[in-house]
Subunit: 661 residues, 2 copies
């Protein structure tokens, strides 16, 4: 008789191994956190001398479920703003609240609550992507769950990093600290192609390869993303990231809703993992992922809950059922995504998608003891039929509720016994979360009158965080400069002439920003208007940093096409003040020492201000880049013969207000 720590007996063991072995009266022997044997109860009782025997009383024993994509800490934003368009939800609610409230403490609380909810739902392992991931990892390790935890990196400042270099450095430190942990696999999470730059994706890939950790990223979640990629790059998203070398890393791609067959081949060929997130995709109306096709091509497709802010719960059994239902309905085939395959997605295949199938995802000797007991002796699960052995999978997928989970073990440690959490007491966290919710409610109620909310409420506002390095100088006479710019000595990419008719609405509270209604008239060489465009821009207060003479401006802006009349906007936003600026602008896009810069020669028509202004400006995404470009702007100014020109530090609205007041 072999000695062992624990033997679970009299269970309906659903191994989820490659051959889908079932042991209707089965047992599992566990030693030192590892599964040492799985088989009929009678055989294991004969072979092992366990320190403890647990009678499972006919419950179903399954491997722990794998939640392949979530943002655990977002439980603190559960149901923050439902039934809203993605941009309104994200830009109008989630991001403003995250900017204001997300701290390490927020992430710790949110993660603890998420873990408690996930354990109740039979989840033993999840892939996370959020901020302050080091704090997240501490909470997860404390609770005793298994996680592939991704430190977010993106081009915008985030709650935990001012710049992408900072977040990349944090990701490196995070990976170094946690690699080798028995439960935690650290990873790097470039948020999505559209929130990163090519450089960020390249740097994240290098980091993931250097430490051999997974790279977790959102890919092709919405049709908009794919259309933007077609327009900008004339490419689909997956070929584009492939070209950048992303698949050199172990990629876990969340969503993959709008991908075609060639992209499915790429995912398969790369051995990439995919997380299918049915609730989230349905609730935000992202679309229907081609799950059946991905599985047919051998892609490792797991199932994820996504975050509670877009779901609104972390109920894995709900996701299983939905994953099957949606696959059937969209393929018009009720035999699609049968229950056994869905269970495989949530266990063995999900573990592959997270690059953890050597440790978890099935009940097999040699794997870690991550397992779940489910009580199917319930009202909603009876009667049941046994003529088809696969009926056990269909009971688990089509009728089981997460509340039927009674016991959960990870790495041989009980996290749930008889429906009682063992390693976490969620009440204090829930009370603290309620305090956060009150503060967030107050923040949102106060903002109710805010311009940005109103802009968002009328639909389609697009947010941009812009970072520009710029210099502005007085230019008494532009003729010589125009001649120089038109001479061909400089590398001119394109030039344009237009008039801008701006109406600014301002508010007593300067924090509301300025709302600009702008009509652009494009002027051809004969001086005729050949095109116009109206749009509305809400310009947040700029944060400035000076570099020699030039200035780094970071601003949040919300753009919306101005489809209504000026009168509508005046009535709707009810500004405290209003003023007009009309100007004539000649603009060149020039390449200078391999970077691109805009040069504007502006003349103010309303109010009339004598003379001309020269602006040189360029976009930037990182601190290092901004410093370099500030130097280049000075060099460019010099090469235009304007090194002594009178500097203007104000933006036009401030200049106008000062001049006219």
């Amino acid at each position: 008789m072999k000695k062992t720590d624990l033997l679970l007996k009299n269970a309906h063991v659903v191994t989820m191994d490659d051959s889908f072995h079932l042991f209707p009266d089965g047992a599992v022997a566990i030693n030192d956190g590892e599964i040492v044997s799985v088989g009929p109860t009678r055989d294991l009782l004969a072979e092992y001398q366990p320190e403890e025997i647990l009678d499972c009383d006919g419950k179903v024993l399954i491997p722990g479920l794998i939640n392949a994509h979530t943002h655990a800490a977002m439980t603190l934003l559960r149901g923050l703003a439902d039934d809203r368009r993605l941009d309104v939800w994200l830009l109008g609610y989630i991001m403003p609240v995250e900017r204001e409230f997300v701290t390490p403490e927020f992430c710790r609380l949110g993660t603890l609550i998420a873990c408690a909810e996930m354990i109740h739902s039979g989840i033993t392992c999840f892939a996370d992507m959020y901020y302050f991931e080091d704090t997240v990892a501490e909470a997860v390790a404390e609770v005793g769950m298994r996680g592939v935890l991704g430190q977010t990196v993106m081009k915008f400042p985030s709650p935990d990093a001012e710049s992408y270099e900072d977040s990349l450095a944090a990701a490196r430190e995070f990976i170094k600290r946690w690699r080798g942990h028995p439960l935690i696999v650290p990873s790097v999470a470039p948020h999505a192609p559209y929130t990163c730059t090519e450089q960020i994706l390249r740097d994240c890939t290098d980091l993931a390869v250097e430490f051999d950790v997974p790279l977790h990223i959102h890919i092709s979640e919405t049709l908009q993303e794919v259309e933007d990629w077609r327009e900008t790059y004339d490419m689909l998203v997956i070929p584009w990231v492939k070209k950048l070398g992303l698949f050199e890393a172990k990629v876990l791609a969340a969503h993959c809703v709008h991908i075609d067959e060639s992209e499915i081949h790429t995912l398969q060929h790369a051995g990439a993992g995919v997380s299918h997130n049915p609730s989230s995709n349905l609730k935000i109306a992202s679309g229907f992922a081609p799950v059946t096709e991905m599985l047919e091509h051998g892609v490792h497709v797991g199932i994820g809950t996504d975050g509670a802010a877009s779901n609104n719960d972390l109920d894995m059994f709900e996701e299983l059922r939905l994953a099957s239902f949606v696959a059937k309905a969209t393929t018009h085939d009720p035999t699609a995504a049968p229950a056994r395959q869905i269970m495989a997605m949530a266990t063995r295949i999900g573990a592959k998608a997270l690059y953890l199938d050597h440790l978890t995802g099935s009940l097999e000797a040699g794997k870690r003891a991550d397992l779940v007991l489910v009580d199917l002796n319930t009202l909603h699960s009876r009667p049941h039929f046994d003529h088809d052995p696969d009926a056990i999978y269909s009971r688990l997928v089509y009728a089981t509720k997460s509340t039927d989970v009674t016991d959960v073990m990870v790495e041989g440690r009980w996290l749930l016994r008889d429906r009682q959490l063992q390693t976490i007491e969620p009440e204090p966290s829930l009370r603290a979360a309620a305090e956060y919710a009150k503060r967030i409610d107050a923040f949102l109620i106060e903002r109710e009158d805010s311009v940005v909310s109103k802009l968002v409420a009328i639909g389609g506002a697009e947010q941009e965080e812009s970072y520009e390095v710029q210099i502005k100088v007085r230019l008494p006479e532009p003729a010589a400069l125009i001649e120089l710019l038109d001479s061909g000595d400089l590398d001119i990419v394109r030039s344009v002439h237009y008039r801008e008719y701006d109406t600014y609405y301002t508010f007593d509270d300067p924090g509301q920003g300025r709302l600009r209604y702008r009509e652009d008239e494009y002027i051809d060489e004969a001086g005729e208007v050949y095109n116009d465009r109206n749009r509305l821009t809400l310009i947040g207060p700029a944060a400035e940093r000076e570099f020699a003479q030039s200035v780094l401006l970071s601003r949040s802006r919300y753009f919306a096409p101005a489809t209504h009349s000026e009168r509508f906007y005046r009535e709707y936003f009810n500004p405290n003040h209003e003023f007009a600026i009309h100007k004539d602008r000649l603009r060149w896009l020039v390449r200078f020492r391999e970077k691109e810069f805009f040069i504007n020669i502006d003349r103010l028509l309303v109010p009339e201000i004598e003379g001309y202004f020269l602006e040189i400006k360029t976009r930037t995404w990182s601190r290092r880049d901004a410093e370099e470009k500030a130097g280049l702007i000075l060099a460019l100014l010099e090469s235009l013969g304007l090194e002594g020109a009178q500097e203007v530090t104000q933006e036009y609205p401030d200049l106008v207000l000062e001049t006219t007041s």
Copy 2:
């Protein structure tokens, strides 16, 4: 102070009245099963002197949920056969099992279990359609739920009726017995257009109008149904039933998945109720009902679970979430079907769909006390945000589980208190159901080798229950008869000449039926083959009844297009015996005294049998009709001058086997 039986206080009252009134600290006063007042706790405590006060402790108080379409007793077939095509599921499993097992006792048990499950899910009222509905009504009344219960009528023999006349008569008796009951509204349920005849639909409408009861019917559930209607009638289904006058009755139409805008207008104009059944439509891959469009047009669309055999549970909160998710995803609009509207569908609008909104569906003075307490102080529902008052609806729809329902009242009587059922003890029923399941398992396992299963397993078998009245006689010389038939004296609808090459597979167990592989060659006037067709038919043993010289044959047949080779079928079905019959057939379709009859003049080529055979046959759907047609066949035989002809009582295969053995 007014006296009252009961006052529920300190609840978050979600009235679901027309103005969506909310009372965050609300109360409801109940007297004699009726809601007498709804308002702030403070106001009601000042106004009423209740015999009993129940402190709801901040729980959410909602009107009882309305399950707009189910087959309650089918809980006994829960998960009988999942992940299968609709025809295989229905014809291969559900119908054979129903034929064998559905009895009043079955319906009583299944209904009790369904009621228990529905009460736990917050359902207080449901619309049912099944067999032995009188037994169903007894069970529902005993449990104390409210129900619109429909006795099924259709053209096939059903577990509770040999013919449609029997079921129609049963429906009349059922309605007479139950009308006026405080909880039960009896109704008539012609199963679906494709399982009824025009006459049946007309008779059911008349019955519903006579007693002013709802008429419950499946409409446009699958694309196949709509395509069949287009092909057969050149019409969509709803215009077709409208033409028959169906909307003279108070129609409750289940599914309405494949309907167009004009059909939506018809439903709206008729004031018809619709049940949207998201789980069922997704799981069977029926399609996506145009729920948003129906609601926009003012159609009363409730939400239904459908039966447990196609769902596999009766979890109303799951259906609410799905109804919202599916509407959002299919319209690509996350603002579609917002939580408040979904809650209205499940309560007030659902009550309208069932023609019960004067009694239930909202918490308003004057309605019956059908209500539910839900505990939202759960891990999966916290934290929560209050900046938007509609957040309460979104918590109910997007995060609540049916297990959060703690108390349920119907007509002032508690059916659930603190999650404990009060009027039903489901364990004995569940044990009895387990016995049924064992017997059904045995039946299906025994059938595992059956020809019909195998036929169904290779896909696309279509079942037909055929009822034919026929006579067959010897015809030594057909020339005179052919001349008569071609003379124009009779009313010939059409005639055709073909050769039938049949191979019969038979089995040692005659109960398996005979499997026929038939190749038809159609012959033109020049004697050339101009078309052919292969098909496979499994012919069950015929039940016979004699009428004078003619015979009523009822047979179940399964048809499948024979897309594989004869060799494939021989290997696949592995018959014990095999024989061939080839015959030359001249066939006329004639109208005789306003009925249609087939006249066949057959000559057997293989095996060669001397002489000719004359068959006269006609389809029938009811006993009365069969008797009448039997008389007409004799008259037709006489008018063909064959009254003395030698009768043949055997069908060709039996004749051949006898002749050749």
